[in-house]
């Protein structure tokens, strides 16, 4: 199994969620993160002092899927989340050795 971790823009969350629904992916965990990369920060002034905000708010998705689905999921996210502007985000694929569904104790692919 794989964990697909995607860092995307806030405004793309709903779209990505819907696109994943269409390929029958429902289990998703979402968190608020901040990030930097190619995208530069910006400066503000507060009471005359400069404040550099170099971390931009982003959304992180974590989706664990069976090995064979990972490619599809990555593709769907990449396409839906793209705007073409700097700051679109990254997708990482990470190996997962075991999955357990807490409610039933089921393991592996059936637990996803």
């Amino acid at each position: 199994m794989k964990k697909v971790e995607a860092i995307i823009r806030h405004i793309k969350l709903d779209e990505v969620k819907n696109a994943l629904s269409k390929i029958d992916i429902h289990g998703i965990t979402v968190s608020e993160v901040k990030g930097c990369g190619k995208q530069k920060g910006y400066t503000e002034t507060y009471r005359g002092s400069k404040v550099t905000i170099y971390l931009r708010p982003k959304i992180k998705l974590e989706i664990v899927v069976p090995d064979d689905l990972a490619g599809k999921v990555v593709e769907v996210i990449a396409e839906t989340a793209r705007t073409g502007e700097i700051g679109d985000g990254k997708i990482f694929v990470i190996p997962v050795e075991e999955v357990i569904r807490v409610r039933t104790g089921e393991k592996s692919d059936t637990a996803i």
Binding site: E44, T45, Y46, R47, G48, S49, K50, V51
Partner: protein, 450 residues
């Protein structure tokens, strides 16, 4: 949904009944035209002459007036609390508001026990409140040069008197604003117990003594009578007594405590530590402006003194002017308007107009406010960049710098339409622009001291 239906039924009933009731003939007195003035007179002023009753009505008007002003000023505690809390970082919010809250309680008891007596123990003679006859004890080193008062402690004995109590009510909330100001400059850093000691000291001694000199009949007030300097040192509602004292205390405190960790880089350049809740700070600013109407206009201690209209309008105009000039100045200088500076600017304007509020006309009030707004911003930058002092809410600038400006501006702009009899001098108060150079000198004396 079962209960909702019941509620709807009840409501329907109310509507139907209401509609039926609209038509009912009225038998009461829906405009007050049938009010019986004579019975009211007999009930409220039994055995008094008409003339006496008129005087008592006037006193009642003034009591209501002072009460109104006092509660408005009291509410400024909330304003200070919100401004200071909003401008601090989230993790210190509870501590900051706790100091703002407790300072009122501490100050109230200390002022009741000691401060009020020191400040106003010799202030008898306020005709609008019935004379304050019991407050007859001014301690003077030389005849005419009073230092502190000696009556009214604990509000007992002769001071158990409605006139004294209404005076206390107003003066006590006034005092508490002074005590609150430095909490802003020292915010996020001091220990709670140190803060308690500070609170007792300011409210029982520091403020009352200086206050006595200016308002309690002490020596600064007598510069006019004794040395012929205009009407003596004048500070209408406390640009100096309240604000400059508060601001300078804040400065001293901020220096002693040192800056917050991370405020200054090793090379001395300041970092911004943005306030965590700007809407909270703005709400606080509006509450302060709201209370300031009571602060300035209430200082007549008389609703029968119609000058209150001018004072209130001046206060409002200077506040608006301060906010605007601060906002535009920042906009021009840094390319973007900064809400926290605009809020400081309004407070600066208010502080500035506090001394001259009663003595100037509307265009002067606007100019005083405009200058205060810019002064306030410049002072914030100066305190941070040159003095390298960390003043999270701008207390030093808003209250200190603009407070001094307020006292000076009185010496410049007072237009001679008001103030006959003030501090025992029979002429009206005139500033430089209107030919009153001696008043200007009296005003400068305080700044020397600071």
């Amino acid at each position: 949904m079962f209960k909702l239906k019941k509620i709807l039924t009840v409501l329907l009933l109310v509507i139907i009944i209401s509609i039926l009731l609209i038509g009912i003939a009225y038998a009461g007195d829906p405009t007050g035209a049938q009010m019986d003035g004579k019975s009211a007179f007999d009930a409220l002023y039994a055995g008094k002459s008409v003339k006496e009753a008129v005087g008592l009505n006037a006193i009642a008007i003034n009591f209501v007036w002072v009460f109104l002003a006092a509660v408005l000023v009291f509410f400024m505690q909330a304003g200070f609390a919100l401004v200071e809390t909003g401008f601090c970082r989230a993790r210190n919010a509870t501590h900051v508001i706790m100091t703002n809250f407790m300072i009122f309680a501490i100050g109230a008891l200390a002022y009741w026990a000691i401060g009020f007596g020191l400040m106003f123990g010799g202030a008898s003679g306020v005709a609008s409140l019935g004379g304050l006859k019991p407050l007859t004890g001014l301690f003077e080193i030389v005849k005419g040069w009073g230092i502190f008062g000696t009556k009214g402690f604990f509000l007992v004995g002769g001071a158990y008197d409605v006139g004294v109590f209404i005076m206390f009510l107003f003066q006590m909330v006034f005092m508490d604003t002074t005590a609150t100001i430095p909490t802003g400059g020292m915010a996020e850093r001091w220990k709670f117990s140190a803060f308690c000691i500070y609170g007792i000291f300011v409210s029982a001694f520091l403020y009352p003594i200086f206050g006595n000199w200016v308002w309690g009949g002490g020596w600064l007030a007598k510069l006019g009578v004794n040395l012929g300097l205009g009407n003596g040192y004048i500070d209408w509602a406390g640009s100096s007594v309240i604000h400059a004292v508060g601001g300078i205390t804040a400065l001293a405190g901020a220096i002693v405590l040192g800056p917050r960790i991370g405020k200054f880089n090793k090379d001395g350049t300041p970092n911004a530590l943005p306030g965590h809740h700007i809407p909270m700070a703005i709400l606080g600013t509006i509450i302060l402006a709201f209370g300031w109407f009571g602060f300035n206009a209430g200082s007549t201690l008389a609703g029968t003194d119609l000058r209150i209209a001018v004072i209130a309008v001046n206060t409002m105009l200077a506040a608006a002017a301060g906010a605007i000039s601060a906002m535009l100045f920042v906009w021009k200088k840094f390319g973007k308007p900064d809400p926290s500076m605009a809020a400081n600017g309004m407070l600066g304007g208010l502080v500035g107009i506090t001394a001259p509020a009663a003595f100037v006309n509307a265009p002067s009030a606007v100019i005083i406010g405009l200058i205060a707004g810019v002064l306030c911003v410049q002072s914030v930058l100066f305190v941070e960049r040159v003095l390298k002092v960390d003043d999270p809410v701008g207390a030093v600038s808003v209250h200190g710098a603009c407070g001094i400006w307020g006292v000076v501006s009185l010496g410049i702009f007072a237009d001679g339409t008001y103030g006959a009899g003030y501090n025992g001098v029979q002429t009206t108060v005139k500033g430089l622009l209107y030919g009153g150079s001696s008043q200007f000198i009296a005003q400068l004396i305080e700044n020397e001291k600071s």
